[in-house]
Amino acid sequence: MNRIESKWKELKKKGLKAFIAFITAGDPCLEDTYKIVLEMERQGADIIELGIPFSDPIADGPVIQASSNRALEKRTNLNKILLLVKDLRKKTDIPIVFLSYYNPIFHYGIEKFVEDAVKSGVDGVIVADLPPEEAKEIKIFSSKKGLDTIFLAAPTSLKERLHKIAEASTGFIYCVSVAGVTGARNSLAQSLKRRVVDIKKLTDRPVAVGFGISNIQTAKWVASFADGVIVGSAIVKVIQDNLEKKDLISKVGKLVKDLASAIHKA
C-alpha cells in the first residue's frame, strides 16, 4: 500500500476529511519549501502538492503565475525538486504529489521522470494540461513503478469523459470546482455538490475538490460532501505577502492550521 492510499485509509478510520495543501516548489526558495512542507504537516495538512514551476502556466491565475516566476528566478528545476523530496523523506512520510505541466516532465523524459520521482519518494503526479487521451505513455510507466496518476474532472466534463477520468486516475480524483484558472474565489456554485456526488457514483476512489477555495467557510462547505479539499492560491498568497519577513513559515502554518481544523471537522 502506498503512502496516499494509507493516508486515505487512516483518515477514513478516524472519520476525517483530507486537507491537501499546495505550494510551488522553490518559492521563495527550496530551503523554505523544505521548512514549509514540514510546518504544513505539523499544522494538520494531510497531503502535500508541490507545484513544478513552468514558464507558461496556462491553467494558473496571477497568484500562482507569480509564484512560479519567483521559483524560476531562483533556478528551481525538476532535478533540484527531486533532491528536495529525497531530503524531506528523511523527516516525513506525508504523501507528496507533484503538480506539473507536461513540458518540463516530457523534456526530462517520461520514463526517467517516473523512475526518479518514485526513487525520491514522490507518491503521485497531476499534470494540468494532460487529459487521459494523451496520457498513455505516463500511465504505462507509472503503473509499472507505482506512481499514482491523478486526473482532473472539470465542470464541463460530460459523463463519458468522467468515466475515462475515473478509470485513468489512481490515488484520488481531482474535481475542479469552477471553469477557469486557479485563484481565490469568494464563493462557489451550489451545483458543485451535485457534481461531486455524481463523480462519487462512478468510482470508489476518493474525490478531492480544488480551485478557488480561499476561506474557512468554503473549505468547510466543500468538506461536507467531498473526501478532500485542495487549497493552493490562498496559501501561496500568504507566501507572496510575507516574502521578506522572518515569520513567513509561521504565517503559512497559521493559515494551514485554521484550514485543517475546519476541513477535518466538517
Partner: protein
C-alpha cells in the same frame, strides 16, 4: 495519404494532439463536430466563398516580379496576399472561423495577436458580424505595432495588454487560453495560426489552403506547369501551411519554409523552432519548440513580430520529420535588405515576415537552375512595419 490527415485526436505521427486543461476538452470536441458539419454544408461554403470574394478581395493575383527576377536570376512569382482586405493572409482564417463561431451560437470572440495582423483581421470580422471582441497582445508588441493597435480600437475591439512572460505572442496565447477556459460556454477562441490543440491546426490550415489552391490554378494557366519551389515564411505556420498543403502531393515541387534567424542562430536570439528547436509540448500540441535545458519555454527574437514565437504548428513538425518540406532561417538584417530591395524594384512594401521569404530567394539565388520557377507567398504588406524600419535605418531616433 498518410502525410495529409491526422488521426481523430489530431496526431500527425507523434506530433499534434490535445494537451489542454480538462475544462477545454469538451469545447474542442464541440468545435470539431461543428466544423465537420459546417464544411459539409453547401450554404456555409457558399457564404464563406462569397465573403472571401466580395469582402476580402479573393482571388489574389499571382504576380510575375520581373525586375526582382532579373536581379536574382530566377523567375519569381509573388502570391499577393498583401492585397487582401486588412493587408495579410490572416483574414482568410478569421472569416472562416468567425462564420463558424456564429453558426455555433457563440456570443463573443477572443484572439491573440503578435504582429497585430491577426488581431486586426479578427476585429474586422467581429465588426462585420456584430460580435464583441477582445484581443490579447503582448506589451512589447503593442509598442512596436502601434498602427495595428489603433486600427483594432477603431474597429470596436478591446486590446488587452499582456504583461506576463516575454510580453509577446506566446504570452498573448497563454492569456487568451486563460480567458477561454473561464468563459468557455459563451466565447469562441479564434486562434490565428496552425498552432494550438486539435482541431485548430486543421481548421486554420483548411481555411488558409485557398492560397495554395489558387496558386496552383494560376501558375498552371500562366506557365503551363507547377513551380519548382514554393517559398513561405513560418511563424506559427499558417500562411506557409495554406500555401504548401495543396502541393504536398506534388512530389516534384520543393516546399521551403523560412524561419526567423533573428540575430543569428548562435546568438540564441531567433525564432527558429523547426531549425533549432527540440520536441516538446506548447499551447496544447506536441511539436518543435524553443526551450531551455529544463523544458522552460525560451523567449525568442525577430525583427518581424509575426515570427517571434517559440513554437510552430504540429503539421510542420511532421512534414519536416518526413522530409517533405525543408526549413531555413533568414536573419533580421537579410530580411531588412529584402524589404528594401522589393520596395525599390517592384514598388511593393512587403511585411517584414514575408520579407524573410523574399530574402531566402535572394540568398539562395546562385543555387537555382536556369529555368527554375519560384513562387513566394507574399503573406502581407509592410505598412504596419514602417516604424520598425525607420528605427532600423535611424537607430538613434529613440
Amino acid at each position: 495519404m498518410k502525410n495529409i490527415s491526422p488521426d481523430t485526436q489530431g496526431h500527425w505521427g507523434k506530433f499534434g494532439g490535445k494537451f489542454v486543461s480538462e475544462t477545454l476538452m469538451c469545447a474542442l470536441e464541440e468545435l470539431s463536430s461543428a466544423y465537420n458539419e459546417a464544411i459539409k454544408d453547401k450554404n456555409f461554403k457558399q457564404d464563406l466563398n462569397n465573403c472571401l470574394k466580395q469582402y476580402a478581395g479573393r482571388p489574389t493575383p499571382l504576380y510575375y516580379a520581373e525586375r526582382f527576377s532579373k536581379k536574382t536570376g530566377v523567375r519569381v512569382y509573388l502570391k499577393r496576399e498583401d492585397l487582401l482586405h486588412t493587408g495579410a493572409h490572416k483574414i482568410n482564417n478569421t472569416i472562416g472561423q468567425a462564420f463558424l463561431a456564429k453558426r455555433m451560437g457563440k456570443k463573443r470572440l477572443i484572439a491573440e495577436t503578435g504582429a497585430g495582423q491577426h488581431g486586426v483581421a479578427t476585429a474586422t470580422v467581429a465588426a462585420l458580424l456584430g460580435m464583441p471582441c477582445d484581443v490579447y497582445m503582448g506589451e512589447d508588441d503593442i509598442k512596436r505595432q502601434k498602427l495595428n493597435v489603433f486600427k483594432m480600437k477603431l474597429l470596436g475591439t478591446k486590446v488587452i495588454p499582456v504583461k506576463t512572460g516575454s510580453k509577446t505572442l506566446k504570452d498573448a496565447i497563454n492569456e487568451a487560453l486563460r480567458d477561454w477556459v473561464t468563459n468557455v460556454k459563451t466565447t469562441y477562441y479564434l486562434l490565428g495560426s496552425v498552432v494550438g490543440p486539435h482541431p485548430y491546426p486543421v481548421i486554420v490550415r483548411d481555411f488558409q489552403s485557398v492560397i495554395g489552391e489558387e496558386t496552383k490554378r494560376q501558375i498552371r494557366k500562366l506557365e503551363g506547369r507547377l513551380p519548382d519551389y514554393v517559398v513561405a515564411c513560418v511563424g506559427g505556420g499558417s500562411n506557409s501551411m495554406g500555401m504548401f498543403y495543396p502541393f504536398i502531393k506534388e512530389r516534384k515541387v520543393k516546399l521551403i519554409g523560412v524561419e526567423a534567424g533573428g540575430l543569428g542562430l548562435a546568438s540564441g536570439k531567433h525564432g527558429a523552432s523547426l531549425c533549432k528547436g527540440t520536441e516538446g509540448v506548447l499551447h496544447g500540441a506536441r511539436t518543435y519548440i524553443l526551450q531551455d535545458k529544463d523544458g522552460q519555454i525560451a523567449s525568442t527574437h525577430s525583427v518581424a513580430p509575426g515570427l517571434d514565437y517559440s513554437g510552430v504548428g504540429p503539421e510542420h513538425a511532421h512534414l519536416k520529420q518526413t522530409g517533405r518540406t525543408s526549413y531555413y532561417t533568414v536573419k533580421d538584417k537579410d530580411a531588412m535588405d529584402a524589404f528594401f530591395m522589393l520596395s525599390h524594384l517592384e514598388g511593393i512594401l512587403p511585411a517584414l515576415e514575408s520579407s524573410h521569404a523574399i530574402a531566402w530567394v535572394k540568398n539562395f539565388a546562385i543555387n537555382f537552375k536556369k529555368n527554375d520557377l519560384v513562387v513566394v507567398n507574399l503573406s502581407g504588406r509592410g505598412d504596419k512595419d514602417v516604424d520598425i524600419v525607420e528605427d532600423y535605418i535611424n537607430p538613434v531616433r529613440n
